[in-house]
């Protein structure tokens, strides 16, 4: 296969995943959340159980007027949703789907790359918050930035633990090195990573920055139409990314029966299972208050992650 064709296939695959997977998760969220609340959820769009609801939503968003507040910093305001979406698209490049190099861009320092790029999202939060010229937006943005900065620490520490265990920073390498008993050994790290990942994508119960009962919609308050849809899309791609990272780092990625042929299926299944848990948590738990949120980060997750690092190092040395 010529180089350019190879490149094209990879890029198309990533873009397709970027466009399709969030829709699946979004639809799943509609239905799962509805049934967990004793409702049916969307039933009309599309013939069968409202399968086309998100497509309809997309069409609706496109048709809506694109409003920029008069006092807003126009360019920053308009750029923010793209900046919010961009890192997640880039991150998808590095996530391995199956064995034998089934990854868009294998990287030596894949884990590092992923964490670094995910960190860019916080800039978008601050941009949208400040440029909206709205005090609710600003408050939400400051909360969001504080939350993202805080939770990045346990996220990186937990990821460092598994990287240490595997002895590599490459994501396919980590999956290669994974074995089932890691589920037990790395369980605290997995938990910390998952929880702080949830906080990183600002999903309930960590949605203090967009707490709609007090901040309207936080830093997204002033956004309409397509730009708002970008923020929403970023949230759902964020679910995919966090679920995929949890899968790859802690749940063994493509490991499973017949991994040679069905590896990609296992990865996808695990990603969807984790996504389901993310939705489930949203339905089950109330929003954490700002002080509880920060306390959970600094007094629970960071110490647990550090303890896990010590444990990992000890086991690694003992083996």
């Amino acid at each position: 296969m010529p180089l350019w064709l190879d490149l094209l296939v990879r890029v198309v695959a990533v873009v397709a995943a970027f466009l399709v997977l969030p829709l699946l998760v979004g639809q799943a969220e509609h239905k799962v959340m509805a049934h967990m609340q004793g409702r049916l959820g969307p039933m009309y769009a599309g013939a069968f159980h409202g399968w086309a609801q998100l497509v309809a939503d997309g069409v609706k968003f496109v048709q809506k007027e694109d409003i920029t507040p008069r006092d807003a910093d126009r360019r920053v305001f308009q750029l923010a949703p793209v900046v919010a979406l961009f890192p997640y698209l880039i991150v998808l490049l590095a996530i391995p789907l199956g064995p034998g190099g089934l990854v868009a861009q294998p990287l030596d320092v894949g884990l590092f790359f992923v964490l670094a790029v995910l960190g860019i999202g916080v800039v978008a939060v601050l941009m949208s918050a400040w440029a909206s010229a709205n005090k609710y937006s600003l408050l939400g943005g400051l909360r969001g930035a504080a939350q993202l900065l805080g939770y990045e620490l346990p996220l990186v520490l937990a990821a460092a633990s598994v990287a240490m265990a595997a002895g590599t920073l490459s994501l396919p390498g980590i999956v290669e090195a994974w074995s089932p008993w890691w589920l037990l050994w790395q369980a605290p790290a997995a938990l910390v990573f998952f929880v702080s990942g949830l906080a990183e994508i600002r999903r309930p119960p960590f949605d203090m920055p967009i707490a709609d009962s007090e901040l309207v919609f936080g830093y997204m308050t002033e956004y309409t139409g397509l730009r708002f849809a970008f923020f929403l899309l970023a949230e759902y791609v964020g679910i995919i990314v966090i679920a995929a990272l949890t899968t790859v780092l802690f749940l063994g990625g493509w490991h499973g029966p017949a991994a040679e042929h069905l590896g990609w299926l296992w990865t996808l299944l695990k990603v969807f299972a984790v996504s389901f848990v993310i939705i489930w948590l949203r339905v089950s738990y109330p929003r954490l208050r700002e002080d509880q949120l920060q306390r959970l980060c600094w007094l629970v997750l960071v110490p647990v992650a550090l303890a896990q690092l010590v444990l990992t190092a000890a086991v690694k040395v003992a083996l």
Binding site: D108, A116, M127, A146
Partner: protein, 171 residues
């Protein structure tokens, strides 16, 4: 003129251009955002120069944390939307010194390297760098971690609200 040269030129232009905007912009927050662009372009430069690890550390620490802290501080202090009038001192001394330093250094470098062509390193510098850090430089590395810890403690102590607050206002 190779691909690498073109990339370096483009990224360098972006870095310098947005760097210039950082120091001249009259919009407080925009200056910070231009800094993001400038640092990002520099991460790109590192990538082209084969220093992957430095590039990603740059993105993680600078873009993800340092600039965010700066923006945070800007927003916590005073950040009007639109230009602010009182950001700058008279330009002349700064222009003379800054321009002198910049152009002088540039002239020095240009004179030193002229049109030397250097081969780009093979990818995989991360491993070499790891070996280097944990071999030769392990002691400075540890000292650095202690420095970071003390900086952390210092920052926390400095930002305690009960220090330096006006007496009657309380914390």
């Amino acid at each position: 003129m190779t691909v690498a040269d073109a990339l370096l030129l483009a990224l360098g232009a972006v870095a310098v251009g947005s760097g210039a905007l950082v120091v001249t912009s009259t919009h407080l927050v925009r200056a910070g955002l231009y800094l993001v662009v400038s640092l990002g372009a520099m991460a790109g430069l590192y990538l082209v120069l084969g220093a992957e690890l430095v590039a990603w550390v740059q993105v993680l620490v600078y873009v993800g944390a340092v600039v965010v802290l700066l923006l945070f501080a800007v927003m916590l202090t005073r950040a009007p939307i639109g230009p602010s009038a009182d950001l700058d001192r008279p330009a002349w001394p700064a222009l003379v010194v800054g321009g002198g330093v910049g152009l002088g250094l540039a002239a020095l470098f240009i004179d030193a390297f002229r049109w030397t062509i250097v081969a780009l390193p093979v990818p995989g510098t991360t491993e070499r760098m790891g070996a280097e850090i944990f071999g030769t430089w392990v002691l400075p590395f540890e000292v650095l971690s202690i420095l970071l810890l003390s900086a952390l403690v210092g920052a926390i102590v400095l930002s305690r609200p009960d220090i330096g607050a006006p007496k009657e206002g309380g914390a």
